[in-house]
Symmetry: C2
Subunit: 380 residues, 2 copies
Amino acid sequence: MFRFELVAVDTKTSARAGLIYTDHGVIETPVFMPVGTQGTVKAVEQRELIEIGARIILGNTYHLYLRPGIDIIYKAGGLHKFISWDRGILTDSGGFQIFSLAQFRKISKDGVKFQSHIDGSYHFFTPESVVEIQRILGSDIMMCLDECTPYPCDYDYAFKSNQLTIEWAKRAREKFDNTEPLYGHSQAIFGIVQGSIYPEIRAKSVEELLKLEFDGYAIGGLAVGEPVEIMYQITEFTASLLPQNKPRYLMGVGTPENILESISRGIDMFDCVIPTRNGRNATLYTRNGKFSIKNAIYKEDFTPVDPECDCYTCRNFTKAYLRHLFNADEILALQLASIHNLAFYIWLVGEARKHIVQGDFLEWKDIMLQRMGEKAKIEK
Amino acid sequence: MFRFELVAVDTKTSARAGLIYTDHGVIETPVFMPVGTQGTVKAVEQRELIEIGARIILGNTYHLYLRPGIDIIYKAGGLHKFISWDRGILTDSGGFQIFSLAQFRKISKDGVKFQSHIDGSYHFFTPESVVEIQRILGSDIMMCLDECTPYPCDYDYAFKSNQLTIEWAKRAREKFDNTEPLYGHSQAIFGIVQGSIYPEIRAKSVEELLKLEFDGYAIGGLAVGEPVEIMYQITEFTASLLPQNKPRYLMGVGTPENILESISRGIDMFDCVIPTRNGRNATLYTRNGKFSIKNAIYKEDFTPVDPECDCYTCRNFTKAYLRHLFNADEILALQLASIHNLAFYIWLVGEARKHIVQGDFLEWKDIMLQRMGEKAKIEK
């Protein structure tokens, strides 16, 4: 059964170390969840996710509902079996994708009508149907359907949108309570705090969601283009209103720096396409900052991407080889870069956890930010 | 040091089982060599090549000379170190690529001038320079520069072209004898029999090459568009002229059927892009024939690609999942298909060897061809 256990709280920051218990294993928090939108983390094999220590990955309701379709996933015995992954899965509700990907969408009180980005077909999602779909997916953690406001977003729109998201959260909660898991393992449901950059609306959102007693709370509607300082402020403010005994998930964040700063503001869970997407674009993240491996200075650099990293890429290959693979448009470039970047992200949050437990998180964070930042400047 | 040992010769066919000793390990023949043109077998990690039992892979002189360039590979300590692969490497001379890829080429007695397909720059390869490049690459087996005749090719052109290839082979042999390996491991050199579809020219080619006492003999200029029966006839005829105590390599061949038929005609070594290239195009090869995983009949097929295969793909994933990955344009599709197809090819030649040693190769081959053929018809 789903359960969150708080292991340590930092004294100088709001950073927390915890444990999320699921029927697919225990997840140490802070946790970084690799994004496996369509039932695969791009260019990375499931056994490689295990190798780098991924305990939970994301799947996306919008994408998987459209393709391959929930009938196939149901017949496969759920998403875990379909993709051959027996650790944790969190499924996003698809709200964000409807707003960012669909060719057409029309929101009503009842739900949202949208046109598939794949074939133009029309579909209608309701808070209830999205819970039902996630029952069929069988994710360990499902998310409520929400409206993710864009940035900038005026106060009135953010206010009304949040009212709708709250209404939808109530209906999702009710549907969740009136349905059962399909595959013998338990499922949890998280509410999503919206409210754009307006503290009053965020507070209202938290207040209403808390009444619904979700298993965890996500902060949505950030990392959508707002200045990073505003993102940190809203994250800090929102996290401060959330209960200590439930996990907190900052959706879609972010860079290594964003993640450390958000951990220090009380966030437990992260997902982001940066390590894989930017990896596929030849950007590598390391303890000494990020750099583009395509840069000519790596032409004859026969050292690993990150000498302190113990991932497959860093244990076996040099920057010169990886640069060659990118220049030659080889698929192995995408694989090795994705493995390394994810390994680094997972190492980073694991290390953060260690220092939260040890009690020197703030000192460590400052050193890490300095290390990552300085080299970034040098190597850009 | 390079050495070939004949282990068994089939009594009913010309099939042979052998061992090639190199400083990077012993290679059981018949052997299938995955193609790693640019220093990587496309979409497959080096550790995965080891996992599926690859003992030797190909690299390409033309490609590696152009990119990353031999200076970088030299500074890396040779191709093995550059790509982190300590098993066998055979490098093709680049002759075939100059004729198939270069934007422009002009052959003279001295060598061949060509224009890079990457940046249009001009280069000149001679039989000597190609040996020198392969010294720098440090491949376990290097190939002489040859002219690969197209199909169709008239007798006169084939005759003259072969005279040139023989001249070049002499010069390559001399250069090889007057140079030393650079990295402490020994290198061998193979001659390439040309002569298009003309037995007399093939015989002349063999006669002249044998005088040069190469470490092995390749049959080039086949699988370039001629009818498969002609390919088999020329292969059989040419192989029959080659000495028993040297390995025989049929370049660029082929389908599983082509490989079994060529083994029975006395061929020991194969390379081909079919398992990886066709794999990336969703064609899967199995004990029961080939099929396109994109076919709608696999939509809800939750069985492995090949239930008798023990590769990572077949052990863990279903046809339905692989089909989804291809439909969703996911990189993992390319990875899993390539792993499986290579594992199947390597299994196939390993099984052929077992039956040659056992003495029932012909019976086994007929059963395999029937199995692979029948299903192919059903599933096409």
